[in-house]
């Protein structure tokens, strides 16, 4: 008899490259995200917008998809994955959706790391992000 699957979506890990641990720590210290999974989703949106994608090579921060799913963020991962592969079958593959999410997050964290380095203060870094957001919100 085939062994029954008990894992599935709930056990999907979110793995981010180790080189981004520092910037994740910086963002975490601001206290503006609920947890590090939120940082991953935010960074992924930055990576997605600025088209930076890098698959995880050496594991650093590891989250769990179930924590993201609890907050109903599966659709965000699926959206990014669908935009990446342009094939609806990706919507049936939650593992792959999260893997693509992590790719964009790695890319986004690289960009955020650069912005941080360019800023003189942590406040300046946050203002930089906010200004980027404001520009995007006013774009027609």
């Amino acid at each position: 008899m085939a062994k029954k699957r008990t894992g599935g979506l709930l056990s999907i890990p979110i793995r981010i490259d180790k080189e981004h641990d520092e910037i994740i720590g910086v963002l975490d210290a601001f206290g503006i995200f609920d947890d590090r999974n939120d940082i991953v989703f935010f960074a992924a949106s930055v990576g997605f917008k600025l088209d930076e994608y890098a698959e995880t090579k050496k594991h650093g921060f590891e989250g769990r998809a179930e924590q993201a799913t609890v907050k109903n963020n599966l659709n965000k991962a699926q959206f990014l994955a669908f935009q990446k592969v342009k094939d609806k079958s990706i919507l049936d593959d939650k593992n792959m959706s999260y893997k693509i999410l992590c790719g964009f997050a790695n890319g986004g964290l690289s960009i955020l790391s650069d912005w941080y380095k360019d800023s003189e203060t942590p406040e300046g870094f946050q203002n930089k992000i906010l200004n980027e957001m404001y520009v995007l919100s006013t774009k027609k």
Partner: protein, 697 residues
């Protein structure tokens, strides 16, 4: 208390329902129940005994056979039932009933007991709740230990005399005095004292542990006292310094340097305003940066999300696979056909040709359930983020402006503050006295008050800690020594009570023995052979008649055990009934109860029968006499005595029916008793069993 009625149904010798009404007239308190041997006289006494105490008295023949045998033959489910109606001294009428469904010799279970109280308005009996039947009987009807006194079996007592059974007699007397209770109580007090002594020993052991706790409590109490003194001293110092500071401030305010004071106040106010504004600035900053967490993802992905949400209607409304299929198996199967370029029917599928294109089209048309759900969720996400983006677009500039305005306000105040500080410095340097006062004020504020405040905090902290320790130690400490001395006192009191009880029992027993002897002596003198005296064996209550002249026991009198038993039994009843007048009620309240007297009258001669009847009637309570025909009818016997005394209230006869003929063993002749024809046995009946019927007086 009086018995007004007895109902018997299939009780031992009695067949079906029988009723006997007793005389409850104080002037005519005697009910005689006349019946020859084997007609059921003793079963009347046994019925009363059973209904009250769920047991038959000692010396009952076949005590396990309670249901009438003929009734059982007729109906194997026949039950025995006895009901007793009792009128209490406060005129309540109770009906006490006991039913036995299966005979004890046939493995019968417990009997059913119930009590009903007569409602005088409706004249019906209403069932009462009785939690514990034995207790209820003891409290309301008759104490258990008095049952043998009031339900008197003369023959049993007579045999005890003949057998010299002093134990049985002593028990009767103990029952009468209640000293059995006293002795029981004395034993219980012994147990109580033992228990208290063990408790005392345990307390002693823990006392040593408690001592340590007590020492700690004393130590902490001492420390607490010292700390409170220190705190009082520090508070005094603090008060002195605070007063001095107030005085200086008053002097400064009232001085020529009022301008300086005013500027100082402005500086203070500006400092406070800056502090508040900086706090507000931090809050706005926090609010601003929180926008990143709340709106970041949506804004960076906004453009694509919008495009997604605005995709063409056709792609939005594609048909879905059924949920039961779940995964795009159908698509995969179709795709497989295309990959193999072969249809299920075996035909070739060629790219570009009609079947191939149709299958491709079919695959493109369908979404799995999961896909459709995901697409719907993404649509929702896109719509939500679009709305959020609008909120951000509006709120971010507002927050940014708030932040900038606050920053500007702080700058303005800081500028004013710097100006005032300059003025303050120039003013404060102009007056020597005021400079001195200011210096002193600074010294108080910065050097003298802070250490006092710090020490006060430390001392108060220490006080809290000691208070906690004290509370904990006090909670753990029992009332120790006080309890031990309390136990001593309790043991002493219990010992005294025990001594008193023992003395009382001894004295009271002696007193009762004296009274009993006096009563018996009175009866002997009145009804016995003249000149005899009554004596008891040492340490026993077996009575002997002795010659008054010689003191020797009269051997002839020894044969009169039956008469002595009637004397003895009547005396016990009389003493029990009368004792409430002069004896302590706490021992046992005075009890009255009908004297149900099943005495062996028939073995006495006529004179003694009459005398015995007079003795029994003289007991001072309702009397139910169970007598046989011969004793009742003799020339000088009971009937004559009752006529003379005019005490007979009701008269009942017991006749026994049998199904055959008993021949010469049965005297079936009628006898005339008063106006009634009485037959002890009625032959050739269609049942076997006794019946009760009322006679005329």
């Amino acid at each position: 208390m009086k018995i007004s009625k007895l109902e018997l149904r299939n009780w031992r010798g009695f067949y079906k329902q029988q009723e006997i009404n007793f005389s409850v007239d104080d002037k005519k308190p005697v009910t005689t129940i006349i019946g020859d041997n084997q007609t059921g006289k003793s079963d009347i006494l046994r019925a009363i005994h059973w209904v009250l105490f769920d047991e038959t008295p000692e010396h009952t023949n076949k005590p396990q056979d309670l249901i009438n045998n003929f009734a059982e033959k007729e109906d194997k489910n026949a039950s025995a039932k006895v009901s007793l109606e009792i009128i209490t001294d406060d005129f309540k009428t109770y009906k006490i009933t006991r039913i036995l469904h299966t005979d004890l010799d046939k493995g019968g279970g417990p009997s059913e007991f119930s009590v009903s109280l007569l409602d005088h308005n409706s004249m019906t009996f209403k069932r009462q709740t009785v939690a514990n039947e034995k207790r209820w009987i003891n409290e309301n009807i008759l104490m258990h230990h008095l049952r043998h006194i009031f339900l008197f079996q003369g023959e049993v007592l007579s045999k005890a005399f003949d057998a010299g059974d002093s134990k049985q007699l002593k028990k009767s007397v103990e029952n009468l005095t209640g000293s059995n209770y006293v002795n029981e109580a004395s034993k219980m007090i012994d147990d109580f004292i033992d228990h208290k002594e063990i408790q005392q020993a345990k307390q002693q052991t823990t006392k040593n542990k408690d001592m340590k706790l007590r020492e700690n409590i004393e130590k902490w109490e001492e420390e607490k006292k010292k700390i409170l003194e220190k705190i009082a001293e520090l508070e005094k110092d603090m008060e002195l310094l605070t007063n001095e500071r107030v005085e200086i401030m008053l002097k400064l305010r009232g001085s020529k340097n009022a301008e300086l004071a005013a500027i100082t106040a402005k500086v203070d106010s500006d400092n406070e305003q800056i502090r508040v504004l900086q706090s507000t600035l931090r809050e706005i900053q926090e609010k601003k940066f929180n926008l990143i967490g709340d709106y970041g993802f949506g804004l960076f992905a906004l453009e694509s999300l919008k495009q997604f949400a605005e995709r063409d209607e056709e792609s939005k409304n594609k048909p879905e696979f059924l949920e039961t299929i779940g995964t795009p198996i159908r698509e995969k199967a179709l795709q497989k056909l295309l990959d193999k370029e072969t249809c299920i029917c075996g035909r070739d599928l060629i790219d570009g040709e009609e079947p191939f294109e149709r299958i491709k089209e079919e695959i493109a048309k369908t979404d799995s359930g999961a896909m459709a759900t995901a697409l719907r969720n993404i649509d929702s996400l896109a719509n939500a983020e679009k709305i959020k983006a609008e909120v951000f677009k509006k709120s971010f500039p507002e927050i940014k402006k708030q932040y900038q305005d606050t920053e500007k306000r702080i700058e303005e105040i800081e500028f004013r503050l710097a100006e005032n500080k300059d003025k303050m410095n120039s003013l404060s340097s102009s007056n020597f006295d005021e400079r001195e006062l200011n210096d002193r004020l600074t010294k108080i504020n910065e050097q003298e008050l802070p250490p006092i405040t710090e020490r006060l905090d430390d001392e108060r902290m220490e006080l809290r800690s000691i208070n906690l320790n004290l509370a904990s130690a006090k909670a753990k400490t029992p009332k120790g020594t006080a309890e031990i001395s309390e136990i001593d006192r309790i043991i002493d009191s219990a010992g005294t009570l025990k001594d008193e009880l023992n003395n009382f029992a001894d004295n009271y027993e002696e007193k009762i023995a004296t009274n009993l002897k006096e009563e018996l002596q009175y009866l002997v003198e009145k009804y016995g052979t003249k000149g005899e005296v009554i004596e008891f064996d040492q340490d026993s209550f077996i009575p002997h008649l002795c010659s008054a002249a010689t003191g020797e026991r009269n051997p002839q009198s020894e044969g009169g055990a039956n008469m002595k038993s009637i004397f003895f039994g009547s005396s016990l009843v009389k003493l029990t009934v009368s004792r409430k007048d002069d004896d302590p009620e706490w021992l046992e309240p005075g009890t009255t109860f009908p004297f149900v007297c099943d005495a062996p009258f028939s073995v006495l001669d006529g004179t003694n029968e009459g005398n015995a009847a007079e003795v029994v009637i003289g007991s001072g309570t309702q009397v139910i006499l169970l007598v046989n025909t011969k004793a009742f009818m003799s020339d000088t016997g009971i009937e004559k005595k009752l006529q003379k005394l005019k005490k007979e209230g009701k008269r009942w006869f017991l006749s026994h029916h049998i199904t055959g003929k008993q021949g010469s063993e049965v005297d079936s002749k009628h006898v005339l008793i008063g106006k009634d024809k009485y037959s002890a046995f009625i032959e050739d009946s269609d049942f076997e069993g006794s019946k009760a019927w009322e006679g005329k007086i």
